[in-house]
Amino acid sequence: MKHSRQTYPIFLTLLIASIIGVGNTMHSSNSAFAQYYKQPHIPVLHKITLSVEEIPLLGGNLYAYKMVQHLVNDMETGNTIKDLTNNYESGPTIPGPTLIIDEGDVVSLTLHNDITSREKAMVGVHVHGIHYPITSDATLKEINNVEDQGVNPGETITYSWTAGPGTVGTWPYHDHTLGLNTIGKDPNGLEMSGLFGTLIINDGDGYTKALINGEPRYVKIDDISKDVICWVTDDAFWCNEAVNNYGEYEHNALWENPTIKAVNQDLIRFHLLGIGTDFTVFQLSGYEWLKPGTDRIIDEKEIGPLEVHVFTVKADEGDSQYRDIIQSHFKSGMFGDFIVDEMGISIPGEQPGEA
């Protein structure tokens, strides 16, 4: 009895301490537990319409995807919850519009071919990572054994995608109307002429990993100020950015080798995607980051065609440079500034057809 009265306060202290301890460890380090008390994401249907337009350019036209409409609809009722169309640029962009959705969402993607200078120019939207049936492969019949899943000028097609379990990540989409013998399909290789863009599927529980002050840390995706997407081709960085505007994204086209800006201490997530024939080696001077899926710290990364490399860092005061250090790429201008200042407003690079 004496013992039990003495142990009672200790009892209580331990009880309280353990509850606080449990609470702290759950919150800061282990995302698996986080989902037990966060609101689960309710899947929605993204009804997206893109078009393909030409960008006339002496010496050879470029081709680009354009956002026509992006509606977020309730899956049960079909009612439109949000119209995101005005968050995008109004014209065609290289890279194409960045589509940001959550795990569990469904996408219905309609594509118009608005190329005017030729009668035959089949294009499509082939996507990586997200789930889709063989009828939405966006390849030619000689590949998918079903039918030609692209459209000639004036035509329209719809693809169906589902962000099912295991699809969280950043995935490319691009034209893939390339046959077994590519020449003669007129024109071929439009992925090389600007028809590429990005699909980001965020984790439903809202976390990703970042290197913060030299330590791997989970950060909330909601706390990321902007997603910077750069496609590394054989001759340029083509970028756009999605600025986090209270949960909705504002999409800015940054075009070729832009000046990327961020506000000091902001969380910035970089997505790098390669395309073409060359391999590139990416560096962001003055920064280190986590090798994806590990806690290893790296400061450069080789990126091969259609490989994806994503990392999140905290913007540090001062000027930095993003670049491809392969000699023939660097010496022909594949680099740009990453500047951290008060406003953090990026400056687009050269747009094809201007100047």
Binding site: M1, T7, F11, L14, S18, V22, T25, M26, S29, N30, F33, L57, L58, G59, G60, H126, H128, H131, Y132, P133, D137, T139, I143, N144, N145, V146, T162, P165, G166, T167, V168, G169, L180, N181, I183, G189, E191, M192, S193, T233, D234, D235, A236, T277, F279, K291, P292, G293, T294, D295, G304, P305, L306, E307, V308, Q327, S328, K331, S332, P352
Partner: protein, 985 residues
């Protein structure tokens, strides 16, 4: 009791505390496991079957005698190794075999596994023929593998490995035979012992990263990436292996667990599979594209068709040029439990008729840097039919043409130059030069010729022969096809009875093919006759006309063809004898120096210290002190001392540097990157080269131009490039750093110059420039200011016209085309017809931009540049009537330099052009024209004097360079030669 209960309560709270921190602790431990895996990221060693090791001891490795392996030696005394896990020893013997088509492959001889129960023979798992990839050797982590290989000469090599990681490892040859088939996989599976929980693989299945029991994997697919082809093999659940050969269809059922092992044996690739995603080993990252460099391996598990359904899901390399070159196959996911079968692809074992000489329907060319046979049929038909040369092959309809770049330091395309009109899978091409290979099925009978758009004298020939069609005696006769299509759209008729003008082009192309690819058909001016011999085979031409190819054989009398020009030249001329084979190098080429005063060879520069590779084009600095030398089959620019021939510096500038020229104002050097998108700008200072920048000749995102033979205007303001792969030209303005592409003069829209523009020349007056279009056989005339295409000079079908002086001679495939320092004449080397054409370029001439003279050249007529005549050797009163220059012309498949005088009487009309001399370029002891002061840094042992391409005369006669010559040189020149533009008069 109460004490006990309070202890229990304390214990309970301790437990709660622990469980709150346990997830973190657990997570941290998982992290550290990942850290361990990441600490050896490129982990896998390459076990090379051709290397010796400590196990090369016959006592230790005795066929069929395993008694002393485990009993009495203490190895398996207790049946367990240190970890307490059953580990085994594998003794595997493979044999190297040469296949019918000339490729190589490993064959399983015997696989014995020894564990505590004794030896078991596993040889039945494997195919009983040599396969590509070689046998897939499956072992478990912790096992020892002793791999013995028996080489072709019966030499034995032994290598061993004891892997401590799960995954796959390549075993391979360590020379070019690796890329021709000598590669295979060692697959290390987790150990299923009790202490090692990793009897389980990891993968993304059912939407989560999970552990998967190896026993649940239905099928394994091994895919090797090499060249631009997948070579595959299937392993079923009972470990039985089936070779699937090239770009196979992989069969699986919906929901089956399938494991892929993707390995690289040559060139750089990225592997992608449609509609699936998987765990990147050693991380928690989910991916669907993975870089595969040679020696890399990538293993992953998927549930076939999970969440996406059945279908023909494409797998392919995502490197764009490789996609264009055919690097793809199908992962066929069929319905659940339907037992979907894999379908093997084309293989060297595909049988063909005896007329193919190999009886294999799989033709493989390796791409090397060896002159003549840059595309080399690995079956080596020379021994069977010597006149066939090294670049020809024969298959039946439905056969495969396959290419691998095994020994080349540069980029290429594999492009169809000629094919039977309407043939399936033609045309075949890529938009950029690359490193890799190509594979294409040829369904229709006829003649096919492949080339490289970057190096357009590389040829690979294939006849697809229908074995049913024979000559009148029932013997093999090879189908050529009724009509053949050229890459530039022109259709050639092969029926000789039609008298169609294109028939002449057809026979020229066939003769040229066998001249280039058979070294015995190259022209040696030290012989008395020049014989061209074609293979004596019967071919079926259009209209079913059967002829023997040897009717195209020719013989030319060479006596008296060598002679020196009467008027000596001033200074020296350098010729890139690009094909010379020397003792000190593995790559070909030298630069040969001729003293034009004496017409003797004074020097050859080989640069063995840097293995100079195909020296193609030269230029000099403003003081004429150094020679800049490009290496076209490489990536480097070299500089050497002009006077001493000594090496100064070398710099890696980019793919296939073709031509070099300086800006007459800044003296910076500009090198065209013929394998890429632009021109490199370099500075030479204190004997060191520095790359300042690369100037793109197109806008970002446009097809890469691949410029070849550029030029810079006399006033240094503009540079022009012939864009070999985009069929147009770019004008670069130095001051504004801007580019202008060729436009139509009326619409102002894009226009093409012609197919494969290859060389340019700017008129020194700066008003217009010329672009030689190799395949179209035209020369475009373009306004230098606006980029407007003014005219295309037709070379191929000129009419006889006494007004223009055009004598109706056809010239085909023009290459270098310099305009003389006065701006009055253009001399063009035409490579197909082996002829030189002279065009009047003076706008005041009555026949401006017309061909006014034709002269004979040699096979592979290629390079040309002007140089000074030494007019001090002529009486003063005759100097005004003497044209002050020579045009020096070099040819690839002969060993002379041709000296042309376009206007001997200096009247401004080139119709009286003559051959002024021919100079032998051979180092041979019997060559009387070797100077007594001859020096060289190496020893020529073959193809002496051949490969003539770049030509450079010193001192440099062209405006604006001539205006900046040091006084030492101007002192030797006449007023006319010093100031050809009359700027100072």
């Amino acid at each position: 009791m109460k004490r006990n209960s309070s202890n229990i309560i304390l214990a309970l709270f301790a437990a709660i505390l622990l469980t709150s921190t346990l997830p973190t602790a657990l997570y941290n431990s998982l992290d550290s496991e990942k850290k361990l895996a990441d600490s050896n990221p490129s982990g896998h060693p390459i076990i090379k079957a051709a290397e010796a090791s400590e196990y090369n001891n016959q006592d230790y490795y005795d066929n069929d005698n395993y008694d002393n392996m485990y009993s009495g030696n203490g190895y398996y005394d207790n049946g367990y190794n240190d970890n307490g896990i059953d580990s085994k020893k594998h003794q595997v013997t493979v044999k190297i075999e040469r296949l019918q088509n000339g490729q190589y492959a490993y064959k399983m001889v015997k696989h014995i596994v020894i564990d505590k129960n004794g030896p078991t023979d596993l040889t039945d798992r494997y195919s009983d023929i040599a396969t590509i990839p070689g046998p897939s050797i499956e072992i478990n982590k912790g096992d020892t593998l002793i791999l013995k290989s028996i080489l072709e000469n019966n030499e034995v090599k032994v290598d061993s490995i004891k892997p401590d990681e799960v995954g796959s490892i390549e075993y391979s040859a360590d020379d070019f035979t690796r890329e021709l088939g000598l590669f295979g996989a060692i697959i290390v599976h987790p150990n299923s012992g009790t202490y090692d929980y990793a009897g389980l693989e990891k993968g993304l299945v059912d939407g989560e990263i999970q552990k998967i029991n190896s026993d649940d994997i239905k099928k394994q697919f091994v895919l090797f990436m090499v060249g631009s082809t997948f070579w595959g093999m299937e392993i079923d659940e009972n470990h039985l292996q089936t070779p699937l050969w090239t770009n196979p269809t992989l069969g699986s059922d919906l929901g089956d667990l399938v494991q892929f092992h993707v390995l690289g044996s040559g060139h750089d690739h990225t592997f992608h599979l449609h509609a699936h995603r998987w765990l990147d080993p050693g991380t928690s990252d989910i991916i669907d594209v993975k870089t595969i460099h040679p020696g890399d391996s990538h293993d992953f598990i998927v549930k076939a068709g999970q969440f996406v359904g059945a279908g023909h899901w494409q797998y392919h390399c995502h490197v764009f040029a490789h996609m264009e070159a055919g690097m793809m196959g199908i992962f066929n996911v069929g319905d659940k439990n339907s037992n979907t079968q894999s379908i093997p692809g084309a293989s060297p074992y595909d049988q063909a008729s005896p007329s193919t000489l190999t009886e294999s329907n799989f033709l493989t060319f390796r791409v090397t840097d060896q002159p003549g046979t840059w595309f080399n049929n690995v079956a080596n038909l020379d021994s069977v039919l010597p006149t066939l040369g090294g670049s020809f092959g024969i298959i039946n309809p439905g056969g495969t043409a396959h290419f691998v770049m095994t020994d080349t330091n540069t980029v290429h395309t594999v492009t169809s130059l000629l094919w039977p009109k309407g043939a399936a899978n033609m045309p075949f091409d890529q938009i950029t030069g690359y490193q890799g290979g190509a594979i294409v099925k040829l369904e229709d009978p006829g003649l096919y010729v492949f080339t490289c758009k970057v190096h357009p004298y590389m040829f690979a020939g294939a006849v697809v022969d229908d074995p049913q069609t024979t000559d009148n005696d029932g013997n093999a006769a090879y189908d050529i096809g009724e009509e053949l299509q050229l890459a530039n759209g022109v259709v050639l008729k092969t029926d000789p009875t039609l008298n169609d003008p294109t028939f002449g082009v057809f026979t020229s192309l066939v003769k040229t093919f066998f001249k280039v690819t058979n070294l015995n058909n190259w022209k040696d001016y030290m012989q008395t006759t020049y014989v061209t011999e074609l293979p004596p085979v019967n071919v079926i031409l259009g209209g079913n006309n059967i002829v023997n190819l040897n009717i195209l054989n020719t013989e030319e009398d060479l006596t008296g063809k060598l002679f020196n020009p009467e008027i000596p030249g001033l200074g020296e001329v350098w010729v890139d004898t690009q094909f010379e084979i020397t003792e000190g190098k593995s790559k070909p080429g030298t630069a040969t120096k001729i003293n034009t005063g004496t017409w003797e060879i004074e020097r050859k520069v080989s640069l063995p210290g840097i293995n100079m590779n195909h020296p193609h084009n030269m230029w000099t600095d403003k003081d004429q002190n150094v020679i800049y030398q490009t290496m076209w089959f490489d990536q480097r620019l070299a500089v050497f001392d002009r006077e001493t021939g000594e090496f100064i510096d070398v710099f890696n500038v980019g793919d296939a540097p073709s031509h070099v020229i300086t800006n007459p104002l800044s003296d910076l050097a500009y090198v065209a990157l013929n394998g890429e998108q632009g021109v490199a700008e370099l500075e030479l200072s204190d004997g060191q080269l520095d790359l300042l920048r690369i100037i793109p000749m197109q806008k970002s995102g446009q097809d890469p131009t691949h410029p070849h033979g550029h030029w810079i205007s006399a006033d240094g303001s503009k540079m022009v490039t012939p864009n070999a792969l985009t069929a147009d030209s770019t004008i670069y303005d130095f001051a504004s750093d801007s580019i202008q592409r060729t436009i139509d003069s009326t619409t102002g829209e894009d226009t093409s110059t012609g197919v494969v523009p290859i060389a340019t020349a700017i008129r020194p007056q700066g008003d217009k420039y010329y672009v030689a279009n190799l395949l179209d056989s035209t020369i475009s005339v373009i306004d230098l200011d606006s980029g407007k295409l003014l005219k295309n000079i037709e070379l191929l079908a000129p009419l006889f016209d006494s007004d223009t002086g055009n004598d109706g001679t056809a010239h085909a495939l023009p290459i270098q085309t310099p305009v003389d320092p006065t701006g009055k004449f253009m001399v063009t080397a035409n490579t197909l017809t082996g002829s030189i054409s002279v065009v009047n370029t003076d706008p005041n001439s009555p026949n401006t931009d017309e061909v006014v003279a034709s002269l004979p050249c040699d096979p592979g007529c290629h390079g040309a540049n002007f140089g000074f005549k030494d007019l001090s050797q002529i009486p003063e009163q005759d100097r005004d009537n003497t044209y002050p220059y020579y045009a020096y012309v070099a040819s690839k498949f002969s060993n002379v330099l041709t000296v042309v005088d376009p206007d001997p009487d200096n009247d401004g009309d080139g119709s009286d052009a003559v051959i002024a001399g021919r100079i032998l370029l051979k180092e041979d002891d019997n060559n009387p024209a070797i100077s007594s002061t001859y020096q060289s840094d190496d020893n020529t042992i073959a193809l002496d004097g051949t490969g003539g391409q770049g030509v450079l005369a010193i001192p440099n006669p062209y405006p604006g360079w001539v205006y900046n010559l040091p006084p030492f040189y101007t002192g030797m020149l006449t007023m006319e030669q010093q100031d050809p533009l009359h700027l100072n008069s």
